[in-house]
Symmetry: C2
Subunit: 235 residues, 2 copies
């Protein structure tokens, strides 16, 4: 692939992540009536904002910590703490995002957990909770022997990428579903492609672009730590 | 990761792919009224079947051709022809899948290309057409010099995985959308989770599992051809 240095790529990715957060916030503020925490539609609006910010942007940032060349030498613990903290922040936002949609559904007598979007989204967050707990107990707590860390590391990497892929697919199906729910009647029907639909469809494509770039960066051999395949014994 | 040999994995993946095709066909046959090629709802039913079979299962099979140890020695041309032919078959089914949905929309006066699902799906197929043409002209036709093949190969690999990811996200958003469209009234409403909804949601998760396993297999270092990073000069 083109020989792009990691840091400029990372800055562009950070900007793209901020654009995603700005787009989802602007969509919910400008077209969907803004935010509240009271079981109303305004409470639902926290759901897309928290999920995109947590499960896509913060999660993507957490996943790329070990691609920073500065993390390749010196003590590894501060980088582990940064990786784990960013992931924990992403997880916290995701749980709040779940609370937002469940309370909205419950307040309106709408069943939870029936759509493919909801199955996939909840499966993603459950996988993420297992990933975080297993990563914390194996890599951050001091008890795990080197052979266990070595054994678990490729599993952790595989599920790290998988969870981001699932999160992106959840976001795309969720935005699609929300637009069909919200744009039903009159001149602003989804099928007439009003400004809101163009804006939110673009948000979906930006989230996909962000996800693809993060997964591409994770897979790129020249951006991995040179001794990435060695056993994980440095603390 | 666990030391799974490629061939048994490949057989399991093939079974999973067949299960996906069987599920999407059974969904459209049993719950959605079967198949026709006349602009009716039965014509629409070809859309999910052709897309899952082409853009997910056949595409996945095409992408894994060079992971077969038999392809690592001897002349490379037959494997290139197999890879290109499977991809062309996948592309042909995808184009027929597009025809099915466009003719259905046109016959019912429904606009095309307004939902995020449609934007993403069409973008995926356009990317795939570029990928196939670029792959064909660079790797199958004899004119391209080794330096060009070496330069383009990582780009081809990156977009190969990306297109599968986009195809899977398209399928998930499409199944979700179709269920909201079809299960609107009475005791079979989507939100009451009738048998069709459970079945089609499960199909969505199976497609995701298939996609994740193919992407994981493509990324696994020990399943790559030993000289995969060398320039592509063998014919």
């Amino acid at each position: 692939m083109l020989d792009v240095p990691f840091l400029p790529f990372c800055i562009l990715l950070g900007i793209l992540g901020l654009v995603c957060v700005a787009f989802v916030s602007a969509w919910c503020q400008y077209w969907r009536g803004g935010f509240a925490w009271d079981g109303s539609t305004q409470m639902f609006n926290w759901h897309p904002v928290l999920m995109v910010t947590g499960m896509v942007v913060l999660y993507g940032a957490a996943s790329l910590v070990y691609r920073l060349p500065a993390s390749w030498s010196g003590p590894k613990l501060p980088w582990k703490v940064l990786h784990g903290s960013l992931a924990l922040a992403a997880f916290t936002l995701a749980v709040l995002g779940l609370v937002a949609v469940f309370r909205f559904h419950n307040a309106h007598g709408t069943p939870n957990m029936y759509s493919l979007h909801s199955w996939l989204g909840l499966a993603t967050i459950l996988l993420f909770s297992c990933q975080w707990l297993a990563g914390f107990s194996t890599f951050l707590l001091p008890w795990a022997p080197a052979w266990l860390r070595g054994l678990y590391k490729p599993v952790h990497l595989f599920f790290g990428s998988t969870i981001l892929l699932l999160a992106v697919a959840s976001c795309v199906s969720g935005i699609n579903e929300k637009l069909f729910f919200s744009l039903k009647d009159g001149p602003a029907q989804y099928k007439l492609l009003p400004a809101e639909a163009v804006f939110a469809n673009t948000l979906g494509l930006l989230i996909l672009l962000f996800g693809v770039l993060v997964l591409g960066a994770l897979a790129r051999p020249s951006w991995k730590r040179p001794d990435a395949d060695a056993s994980d014994s440095r603390q």
